[in-house]
């Protein structure tokens, strides 16, 4: 199989990989003098786990920010579901089914775990302010209905016992998990994960891997993932993009990337 | 336990500087009566203060807190007066606002419970106009008078009257408001004065505004003898800070300091020398301190009138109302009180709650105030119709409003 071959296929462990859902076309991103991303193109296919790796400061997070609309590329365009995506506010992009987690945890510290995850549902909630104010009819039903979805996510991520804890008090690793839960609660088409396993020990990484795989498997969610743990990246992802100094230096299956000399020089080092 | 005459004082806040000597004067007079005569008509006066800081909200607190057994309320701010005014009708308690408050309160048939003797703001404005025109308002025609005032109910109070006069006598009135936050930085106002070159500047200032205006006037080189103020703009403290530079500035006053009056000797003997006063030695001769004495003296006179009429010592609020409405402060009576020349004689009646005693022009001579005019009187003919009209309007807006029949 090669990267340019876009026919749908089934992976060894039986997951369906479809056509391209999102494509970056010649993305360049500048901040004043700093060029964070230089003319990068790659695609993400339906149902796959796509990893983005590269040394620190390579521009990975910036790329994720471009995808989720927080940064507008200086040049180039993002294509989504076969269409060039017009200039949009980040919240509109989120409503199109793109959910994400953040490198430096961005939870709503003043709320409980449950409420944080409930915010993930808000793109699906429709009751008017008036009915919410009266807590009557639709608002109340809706609240209960979405609570059910959220509880499923909570069960799935095994965080039942911290449901009502203010997230500010949670340890780092659990915060990451809550953040994932919030993104999952949105039932996204594409899930963007920025270093979901940073600051975790092996056991926790295993848990997190399991969640990612299950999400991808059970809901067919497409996942783009930034991670520095090569073990995780190589084991989980279907394809890997490698960035260095804002440029793309490699793209392919884990094996292809692992053996790419540029990648070894710039990032992996001899150890791997 | 005596005659409860609470005072809603302000010894704090941005207007404390001008408030304190007045409050001290009021307080000392009552203390003196208690010490010298055992009170009024043998009944001691229970003079208490409730601090408002010139805030209307706290004013209401104080009013509510003190009204219980009080026979009078002294709100001490035009804002508080406006707020309390309609309530006194219901609570049946006389409101005493000597020389402040709402000028139409003069119309006692509408404002049954309110008294603002010996003169209202409209009286003050009228006297100032009389003084600068040499008692012939037609000479003002074509002249320009700037009205520099605090942007607050107090400062705006004389506006209707002045506007009326301007129209009638053909002078140009230029109102210049000074916001509460600009009291100390009036350079914009004085630049305007410099630009407009008015023939006179009339000031309705209070607290820190007075000093600010006088300082700016000096800086702008505005001729001091064309600069006049209301009776609250003649504070010794402000003028002393200015010294020589303030020479020529005039302030209308319904009271005149008489350091040698008998009452002053009594104050010293019964209060000050005993260390019961909150005032300082030099303060005793100040215009404001002595005006404080006059204010309490008027109240005491009202009480006494009521006591004599009803034959009771411990009078009630409504009895005091009658007393305040029937004051007849003659020269003889003033002499008896040892206050000759401190206030002009006047009398009140059912329809006249102001008394319209008139006053004097005080002029700063560089180190102290001097009486610089004969006794002045307001132009009652011009004022009365305005009072009646404004009072009627007020009654209508606040219907149902009781109107007394004064005939």
């Amino acid at each position: 199989m090669s990267v340019t071959d876009l026919e749908p296929y089934t992976t060894e462990d039986g997951r369906e990989i479809g056509g391209v859902v999102m494509e970056m076309k010649n993305i360049t991103l500048r901040f004043g003098g700093v060029v964070a991303i230089k003319d990068i193109s790659f695609d993400i296919r339906q149902g796959e786990i796509r990893a983005i790796i590269g040394p620190n400061g390579a521009g990975k997070s910036s790329m994720l920010n471009v995808i989720s609309g927080f940064y507008t590329p200086s040049e180039g365009q993002v294509w989504y579901q076969g269409q060039p995506r017009p200039a949009m506010k980040p919240f509109e992009i989120a409503r199109q089914g793109v959910a994400r987690t953040f490198q430096n945890i961005a939870l709503f510290e003043g709320m409980s775990t449950l409420d944080n995850i409930m915010t993930g549902r808000l793109t699906h909630m429709k009751s008017s302010m008036l009915s919410q104010g009266l807590w009557w009819g639709k608002a109340q039903q809706e609240e209960a209905k979405h609570r059910e979805v959220v509880e499923k996510v909570i069960d799935f991520l095994e965080i039942q016992n911290i449901r009502k804890t203010p997230v500010g008090r949670l340890p780092y690793g659990l915060k990451k998990r809550v953040e994932l839960a919030r993104a999952l609660a949105a039932e996204p088409q594409i899930l963007l994960l920025d270093e979901p396993m940073a600051g975790m020990n092996v056991e926790e990484k295993e848990d997190m891997s399991r969640f990612i795989l299950d999400v991808n498997d059970e809901f067919g969610t497409t996942i783009a993932l930034i991670e520095h743990d090569m073990g995780v990246v190589m084991d989980l992802s279907d394809r890997v993009v490698v960035m260095d100094y804002g440029k793309k230096i490699g793209d392919g299956t884990p094996d292809e990337v692992r053996n790419n000399q540029d990648v070894i020089d710039a990032y992996l080092g001899v150890a791997n | 336990e005596g005659l409860s005459t609470p005072n809603l004082s302000y010894r704090t806040g941005p207007f404390a500087a001008t408030g304190i000597p007045l409050m001290n004067g009021q307080r000392d007079y009552m203390l003196m009566l208690n010490a010298r005569d055992g009170g009024i008509g043998g009944v001691p006066v229970d003079f208490s203060e409730c601090e408002t800081g010139y805030s209307t909200e706290k004013g209401v607190e104080c009013y509510e807190a003190t009204k219980g057994d009080a026979i009078v309320t002294q709100p001490w701010s035009t804002g508080i007066t406006l707020q309390v005014l309609p309530k006194t009708n219901v609570d049946e308690i006389p409101i005493l606002a000597p020389g402040y408050g709402f000028s139409p309160m003069a119309d006692g048939s509408v404002f049954n419970w309110a008294f603002n003797m010996p003169g209202s703001y409209w009286d003050a404005a009228s006297m100032i106009l009389n003084e600068i025109s040499g008692n012939d308002l037609s000479t003002l025609s074509g002249q320009k008078i700037a009205f520099l005032h605090l942007d607050h109910p107090f400062g705006k109070e004389p506006l209707p009257f002045l506007e009326n006069m301007a129209e009638e006598h053909g002078f140009e009135l230029l109102p210049i408001p000074v916001g509460l936050k600009e009291m100390q930085n009036q350079s914009a106002q004085w630049l305007q004065i410099r630009r407009e070159r008015p023939d006179y500047v009339v000031m309705w200032g209070w607290g820190a505004m007075n000093a600010g205006a006088l300082t700016e006037a000096v800086k702008t080189r505005y001729p001091m003898d064309q600069f006049l103020g209301v009776w609250w703009s003649g504070h010794d403290g402000d003028m002393e800070a200015l010294g020589e530079a303030g020479t020529g500035y005039r302030s209308i006053s319904y009271s005149a300091p008489q350091p040698d009056a008998q009452v002053m000797a009594d104050i010293r003997e019964y209060v000050f020398d005993k260390g019961d006063s909150l005032a300082t030695e030099s303060e005793l001769d100040w215009v404001f301190y002595q005006r404080g004495l006059v204010i309490s003296a008027m109240l005491a006179e009202g009480i006494k009138t009521a006591q004599d009429h009803f034959g009771e010592g411990e009078i009630t609020a409504s009895q005091l109302r009658w007393g305040l409405e029937n004051i007849n402060l003659t020269d003889e009576r003033l002499a008896e009180m040892g206050m000759t020349g401190m206030v002009a004689p006047f009398s009140t009646s059912c329809s006249n709650h102001t008394g319209h005693a008139g006053g004097w022009m005080l002029q700063w001579n560089g180190s102290e105030w001097e009486v610089a005019s004969d006794h002045l009187m307001p132009d009652s003919e011009a004022i009365r119709p305005l009072e009646v009209a404004a009072a009627a309007e007020y009654a209508e807006a606040n219907a149902p409003w009781p109107i007394a029949d004064c005939e």
């Binding site: 430096n104 | 704090t12 408001p177 936050k181 930085n185 350079s187 630049l191 630009r195 820190a208 000093a211």
Partner: protein
Amino acid sequence: MEFLKKLFVDPFVEMVSYPDFLMQVLWEGLVSGVLYSLIALGFVLIFRSSRIFNFAQGIMVVFAALTLVGFHAMGIPAWVSVIFTLGVMALLAITIERVVLRPLVGQPDIILFMATIGITLFLIGGGELIFGGETKRMITSDLGIPTGSVDFEPFGGLLILQHLDITSVAAAVVLVTGLLIFLNKTRMGRAIRALGDDHQAALSVGISLRTVWVLVWFIAGVIALMTGIFWGARAGVSFALEVIAYKALPVLMLGGLESITGAIVGGLAIGLLEKLFEIYWGQPLLGGGTETWFAFVLALIVLLFRPQGLFGEKIIERV
């Protein structure tokens, strides 16, 4: 049409016709601007070192001035009183650090802001209790500050410059220069800026919050004293002075909360523009009194284009 003419033509005609008056307006604006800047400087310094929006700066001005006058009234020579007052301001700084700031390290901005309002109330109450509410005269001549004025007659008109105002402008220039050198050229200056970014991290590298804060609040006290002397000389010393603190707020916003330059440029700009606006537009067209809000609206408009003010640090937004 008529209105447009009043708006766009008449003011300028007037400016040109009476240039001496215009110059007087500009000078008055400049002088108030300098005083606004001084108060704003006190704010900026504290904000930089602690992200505390110190509302108490205004009352510190009053407090410093009252203390000075108070000492003098006790018969202490003017310059000795100044030194004593500085001592009191140092004591105040130490107390505030010990009692208020230390227990509140690391709390959200708004909490600290509130705490400074608490300090303000405490100082108002305490100050009136000690000094009484009467207006006091600033001991201008005892301090050797010249009074009187110089007159010019440009274009056949009249321009009056008060000696006092000239002195205050000069003193402000000296003070600001000193401050700029202190902040930019010294180790302490860097520590002050670091503290503003992250208390915890600053602690972890050994910057002593206590020392820095006491120092900074003391400097703010010195600035307050200077402001108090000059402003008090204009209008007397009383608690009514406190409201000038509000004037510093738009200055800060306009200039940027953490910039010394901003405080100065903002102060001067607001001083000049609000005076011009009031005299040439506000009084003829709007009934006057526009100075209460003009500065705020001006700052608001500028912020719409530069959300961090003219010279403020760019707000870093990253995820």
